[in-house]
Point group: C2
Chain length 142, copies 2
């Protein structure tokens, strides 16, 4: 498994011990063509079902949050009941398909740069996030 070596180094870089649980998590998260959007639940299921890795919920929470704090994952909050993490940590925006509950990345050409004219004294801008909610045309709006 030559790829796992990268994960081990990646984990070390961020100050996390490369345990086998964390390496498995990295495989699930980062061994992908496209960026990955998931809820904690999705991730636990994937780990246990697809990867055959029984891993404690607490560990998943702890590690996901460690990744997030270190900037290896980004949180996108849809509503009070649904929160996703995104392996694409660059500044970018999202579509959310309310029919399929699917989160879709925008690339930088999809939305013009946001121009913010107001500034709040003494405060700097940490992030600017756009969420575009879409649903099929013939459906009642949320």
């Amino acid at each position: 498994m030559p790829k796992n070596c990268n994960f081990i180094e990646k984990l070390r870089e961020v100050g996390l011990r490369p345990t086998k649980q964390r390496v498995k998590m990295c495989e699930v998260l980062y061994n992908r063509e496209k960026t990955f959007h998931f809820t904690i639940n999705d991730l636990v299921k994937l780990l246990s079902e697809k990867m055959n890795q029984k891993i404690s919920l607490a560990t998943v929470y702890n590690t996901v949050h460690a990744f997030e704090k270190k900037g290896y994952l980004k949180e996108i909050s849809i509503d009070s009941h649904k929160s996703y993490f995104d392996t694409n940590t660059s500044a970018h925006h999202h579509f959310f398909d309310e029919d399929t509950q699917e989160l879709i990345d925008c690339d930088e050409n999809d939305i013009d740069k946001i121009n913010i004219k107001k500034n709040i004294t003494g405060k700097k801008i940490n992030s600017v996030e756009v969420l575009v909610r879409v649903a099929s045309d013939n459906q009642t709006q949320k």
Copy 2:
């Protein structure tokens, strides 16, 4: 209390029975100069402490969600742990002050109209929301 008559009518219009709990809630929510941003917790506290109205948590949840469904309140989800409601239901964007955990309305001059170039076939756009996170200049970023 002439103002409460408005609330009673407002409630009727949306198909909600104007019970005294709901009228009190309306007073708290809509008897204001500015729009009001609150969490369920904030609202319960306000009702019990300032308005002296002991009101069941379940009722607050039910009624807030009824208002939201009817379009009298708008939900803004900050992260998995913090969700606000906004009495300003027009399309508008927000600043979120990470120091004070305060939500601030943008008016339409603060941010240029968002231009979305991508469209997803068969889907219509329900809403476009921008959240600008700010924090004091001399503080570590979230």
